[in-house]
């Protein structure tokens, strides 16, 4: 017997995301965690560039807009001067894994005490579906018309695996949003990341595997199947690093 209320940390209007887009799903569960932790007024959402920018008109709380890929640097400056605030950056794959690679690696390696939530839908949604560093081999985009070719474009970048090799990060995990179970796991991971941050225990990184029905050229329901059989086998969900396994529940 469940009770559920839409989080107060979301505006009352519909999101600007396309039907079935999991950007709104991940924003919703982040908002739920912020609500449940009673952090609405203490939270700062760093909104970078990409479809995530649509949160400017969806997130009900303090927002700081950042340049493309620079959210972890902006978060560093803000959190270091406001250590008591709950700070998180919500970045897409182009933003984080391409243009912002230096910033995410730098912040993670310094063990900055904030949370980065990484939405991986293997494409640049806002600009019309170009190839992202996370685009799967063979996946068609507007800049890989015949499917991504490893020969010339390399392989999809695994950010959790990369970040887990660093010494400093406290918590690194990846979950897929294509099932209710995955959504619940993701939410738990976000809660854990935020709790690690509020305990001052350092950098947390949660990757959320999502979709882009519009640019993948699929119905929302088709994307669920596609994720199950293509995305998830390559980007394996799970906890990649958990420094305080026994200390923070």
């Amino acid at each position: 017997m469940a009770v559920y209320k839409r989080p107060a940390t979301l505006k009352k209007n519909p999101s600007g995301f396309c039907p079935g887009c999991m950007h709104s799903l991940s924003t919703k569960i982040i908002a739920e965690v912020v609500d449940e932790m009673g952090q609405k007024d203490n939270c700062l959402h760093i909104v970078p560039v990409g479809c995530s920018t649509l949160n400017l008109v969806y997130w009900q709380g303090d927002i700081l807009g950042a340049a493309h890929g620079r959210a972890p640097a902006v978060a560093t400056g803000f959190k270091r001067t406001n250590p008591e605030r709950l700070v998180f950056a919500y970045q897409g794959d182009g933003d984080l894994a391409a243009i912002g690679l230096a910033e995410i690696m730098g912040a993670a390696n310094r063990g900055e005490n904030f949370t980065v939530i990484f939405f991986n839908n293997q494409t640049y949604g806002m600009t019309g579906g170009q190839m992202a560093p996370t685009t799967l081999i063979g996946q068609k985009t507007t800049t890989t018309r015949y499917g991504r070719d490893a020969e010339t474009t390399g392989y999809p970048m695994k950010m959790c695996e990369l970040l887990a090799t660093l010494e400093a990060p406290a918590f690194v995990a990846r979950y897929a949003l294509n099932t209710p179970k995955g959504v619940m796991e993701a939410k738990k991971a976000i809660r854990k990341g935020f709790e690690i941050q509020m305990a001052g225990k350092g950098f947390s990184f949660i990757e959320l595997l999502g979709n882009c029905p519009t640019n993948w050229g699929m119905t929302p329901l088709q994307t669920l199947e596609y994720m199950e059989s293509n995305t998830i086998p390559y980007f394996k969900p799970g906890v990649y690093k958990d420094k305080y396994k026994d200390e923070v529940k």
């Binding site: 009770v3 039907p19 950007h23």
Partner: protein
């Protein structure tokens, strides 16, 4: 029982897919943004499990508190 905020629904149908009782169905009406939205085919069968609310990207489905008291 669930409450759907029709205004927020975009008709993605995730709730329909994951409803364990298979009692959600996309209707033929559109909301003011032009999206079809689902409805319960058999209200009595709803177990208020909350799976539809969990997977709904827009937070359009709520399970109100009063339900609890009635039970």
């Amino acid at each position: 029982m669930i409450e759907l905020n029709v205004m927020l629904c975009k008709g993605c149908s995730y709730c329909i897919k994951f409803c364990p009782k298979k009692i959600l169905e996309l209707g033929t009406d559109r909301n003011k943004f032009g999206h079809f939205y689902p409805h319960l085919t058999d209200e009595a069968k709803c177990i208020s499990c909350g799976i539809c609310a969990t997977i709904c990207p827009e937070g359009a489905i709520e399970l109100p508190e009063k339900e609890k008291e009635e039970q």
